[in-house]
Symmetry: C3
């Protein structure tokens, strides 16, 4: 059950090393604390190996990459691989610039990722070595819909099989796939796209969930995706007249903070394919 993945995180407080963008980093830290993990941020190449060594997981997000932090990503990733830690890649904006696309692909060539989380455009870019990305948002033509669901499930499984990573492709419908099974998840609210950083928060949380649940990592990542979407639903239900995206952001993190196993089990909307 997904709820037991949540409880393992709350019991073990996995320490997660984040090399992430400076736009949403505060939300990532508070979301990690809310879910029961513990965040630490470090991107200086001379610092990252020590820091990642004391952690359980490493979350690499290329949202505001620079030459220094890119070097930090490679060094931290190599160390985390050596130590058998969970490593997640969030290829923010892959397809939107050559540097982002190439960095994500080079990271995948040199580091073994247990999880790769992005929107459809980003994951397609990594899969096909090309792709159209509208900034950091998915291209509309790339949406997962009920019409193309069979194809997208097959795509997600094939991507997972080829990379050896759990693929978490998030959007209106979320897919979490390994080579054999795909969770098709229908939690969440469209209003979440009016807030910056829900994807980045999810990447942090998914790292904690995967790190704390090494025996059933695919289920744990699915639990993290359901948690994020369900928190978006619960937070939306609390919105009052005059509230907007800033309050919604706070209430989503609040809902993560208050989530328990029973609520997650009851509220998760998914099927296995």
């Amino acid at each position: 059950m997904l709820g037991s993945c949540l409880e393992t995180v709350r019991k073990t407080t996995p320490l997660v090393h984040n090399i992430t963008n400076y736009v949403t980093v505060n939300d990532v830290a508070n979301a990690l604390l809310a879910c029961g993990g513990s965040p630490i941020m470090s991107d200086e190449p001379e610092d990252v190996e020590d820091i990642t060594s004391i952690c359980a997981g490493l979350n690499i997000n290329i949202g505001t990459l620079n030459q220094r932090s890119i070097e930090g990503m490679f060094r931290a990733g190599a160390k985390a691989n050596e130590l058998g830690h969970t490593v997640l890649l969030d290829p923010v904006g892959a397809g939107a610039s050559a540097l982002r696309t190439n960095t994500a692909i080079r990271l995948m060539e040199s580091i073994r990722f247990q999880v790769i989380r992005g929107n459809v455009s980003e994951i397609k870019t990594l899969a096909l070595g090309s792709g159209k990305t509208r900034g950091v948002d998915a291209d509309a033509a790339d949406t997962v819909t009920d019409r193309n669901l069979g194809d997208m499930v097959a795509f997600a499984k094939a991507f997972a099989a080829r990379t050896g990573a759990i693929a978490a492709i998030t959007g209106a419908i979320d897919l979490v796939a390994d080579a054999n099974v795909c969770y098709v998840i229908r939690n969440g609210r469209p209003e979440m796209s009016r807030i910056t950083g829900t994807g980045c928060q999810l990447s942090g949380i998914a790292t904690a969930y995967a790190a704390a649940n090494p025996e059933n990592r695919t289920e744990a990542v699915a639990a993290a995706v359901c948690l994020m979407g369900l928190a978006g639903e619960i937070a939306f239900a609390r919105m009052q007249l005059g509230d907007g995206n800033s309050t919604y952001r706070n209430r989503i993190i609040d809902a993560i903070c208050n989530m328990d196993a029973e609520t997650l089990n009851r509220g998760a909307k998914y099927e296995l394919r």
Copy 2:
């Protein structure tokens, strides 16, 4: 009407490339989403040309400039100019350090800005090549008041004429001027100065407004300035006992998120000079 500028932004969702400071960057992103735009952040010199190419506008804010991001500003600005995009300069702290003053002046020499937004001290520094700035706040002696309004309107128009940019000089009274006309705007609340980043948010929003309304850019920037001030008023009216500047920050972004054309038209307080 100002409201039609708002509607154009909401209809066209302009993608705005921000090279901005790491203090208020999350608020800038959420404010851009709130107003109907879409934010992307990138400051790595090797990344910025690709990123700005897929955007409609570029917002350059020197609030936490460094040698790498300065190079990114020049490269992104040149590319945005080449592509005919809207480019805005927010010279945070010009006058407070030689590096800030010189960088802002060098940027103005090498890049064609459509909008320059700052407080009076910063704009005076750019105009006169000198100026007193108390950190990132305007010097009290520099305030626009009813007594010096005529002089300040003339100054704003002259600055706009000389630079070819719309001048947005914000404070207790806001001025938005091109060479021919000046909007004198009286929206806003003094309590907004107890929050970090309302100026940075406005610069992001003004970039989106100017980019989405190329035929009437001065009016669009005035609409953005009225929007920000009016959001401050609406948010203040919602403050409850025990609320302080952090809640006020959230409610201002919420008010931007909920603003519609009619509310903006009705609430905007300005005269043309």
Copy 3:
């Protein structure tokens, strides 16, 4: 009285230069504004001397240090020392990596700090040149408790005597010590550890308090520590069903914003040892 330290800050609006991490920097800025100070952030080596020159205090936080910002810390610190400004060190993660430990120790060797604020693990690392740190949180074995209070008070005084800095060691029980006296402070809530950045906020505020109260700096730092803990208590009392750590963060800053001298005097829980 502690309240008079608060009033001095509100009356003099000390400008504080922060070289701090990008995780919690926005909260530090809003907390400084809330307490009556004024924040400015700059970490570029070529910028920091000018910026710190116009300030009253300098807050150095190594939470996301990098080679560039480390150089900025040394240059800003030297300039602030030369000008007789208040300088505070927040050695985030000292003990968690060699770079952090060594940077903190080198900073202490080259810069005269008036205040050093950290958790027990970090301060022990600086004192003993070693220590165990669980990421950015204190190691459980290091907690100040009623059982080891006498030893910890002696340790804090000795550390202050050796370094010449006021030692602010924060945790469940907070200690603020100079060579002669130690404030033992019991304000705060355990829930504050579910939010990122309350320590960073406190370091910013303590810099403002110490800068504005040069005649009674130890008392001023104790006032800042009581203020932060009391704000955590007041904010907690306002929590409603469904609220979580994100709303708590906002309410703490709100409570700082609304704090007055009388409330601080009445709510501060401390004894002198």
